[in-house]
Symmetry: C2
Subunit: 233 residues, 2 copies
Amino acid sequence: MAAWGERLAGVRGVLLDISGVLYDGGEGGGAPIAGSVEALARLKRSQLKVRFCTNESQKSRGDLVGMLRRLGFDISEGEVTAPAPATCLILKERGLRPHLLIHDGVRSEFDQIDTSNPNCVVIADAGEGFSYQNMNKAFQVLMELENPVLLSLGKGRYYKETSGLMLDVGPYMKALEYACGIEAEVVGKPSPEFFKSALREMGLEAHQGTRVLALVWEDPTCHGATGPVSHNC
Amino acid sequence: MAAWGERLAGVRGVLLDISGVLYDGGEGGGAPIAGSVEALARLKRSQLKVRFCTNESQKSRGDLVGMLRRLGFDISEGEVTAPAPATCLILKERGLRPHLLIHDGVRSEFDQIDTSNPNCVVIADAGEGFSYQNMNKAFQVLMELENPVLLSLGKGRYYKETSGLMLDVGPYMKALEYACGIEAEVVGKPSPEFFKSALREMGLEAHQGTRVLALVWEDPTCHGATGPVSHNC
């Protein structure tokens, strides 16, 4: 592995994931991953621009940031790129009125959205909200539309909580895709549009040739990694 | 369309689906589809062998047949090919001990199956049993297995109840496939093995060159059909 100085040559900004990278969620709000609070503090002292790019869709940005600050992270709401606000922009641009299959914790992000007489479905990590009844309702709404539109906040397979692995939104997105014979539009990672919007918010552009690395402190007990791992976005 | 006499030339047996063909399920046990009770009686008076081939996995065969008899159908338990008993055979043959994600109504079919220390997951149309918690448990069982095996009783997308369309097992099978990165083994239609076992139970063999038609009395209000429709199995 190349030395870090060499690997970081030309890097202007750092996009950090949150869940599974800065902390693992779970009972009592979850716990920071060892080393992550200090690593973030060090990044912020550096010349690098730092932004958070998350698919978190169980909490509003305000609640997420509040929780992270209580865990010791130096983070503010304006530094977070998240799929719920990105989805609201799309809904407004396209005149879409969603049926929402989402967690109550993120519902406030959709306060300004017209949900009457729905002409699309928005699905997010609803957790316990993924009851048969709620899934069936979303399915029925889609089946009644001439041109069914399904927006999914991410397509993650699962995530790790302190109590174990938990199903993410992706499997439920796949379930509705199969049931209705449609393909969802994913808002959030790994959509290139989502990464680009995070870059714009950092004042960086991919076409500048700026190399952006996502630095993740993977949990060695989970993935067998022993330190930071880099991925090209 | 060719006359029925011509279409039935060489046909020795008839496999009938049940849900959506003989009756639509729903509140109070559901309702026969118009014409189906009389059509079955007429088939039974003919020279044709008749058998029922269903993916029903919310009820045991006993409960299913009891309900159909109350609705006026001439049917007995020994005439029904269903995925739960077929699955039990597979489990025994392969030494599999399932974690069951199934409807309570079909649980009695698995009474003789060892479910301790599971080494596979069996998923069926669990209806309201498809809670997030139950799905997550099935997911966790699969993720803990070195060689995860998922048996799915059918892969239907949805079915019609008197109250509307309802999600079937297929979407939930797809959800677990995606979450775990695996492919389920489908027991039931449209698996050729399942049709062959139904033929064997009728005393017919596909290699006899016997043409078997599935005659279905489709609900004209649902599918736009106006009479019997034939499908080659």
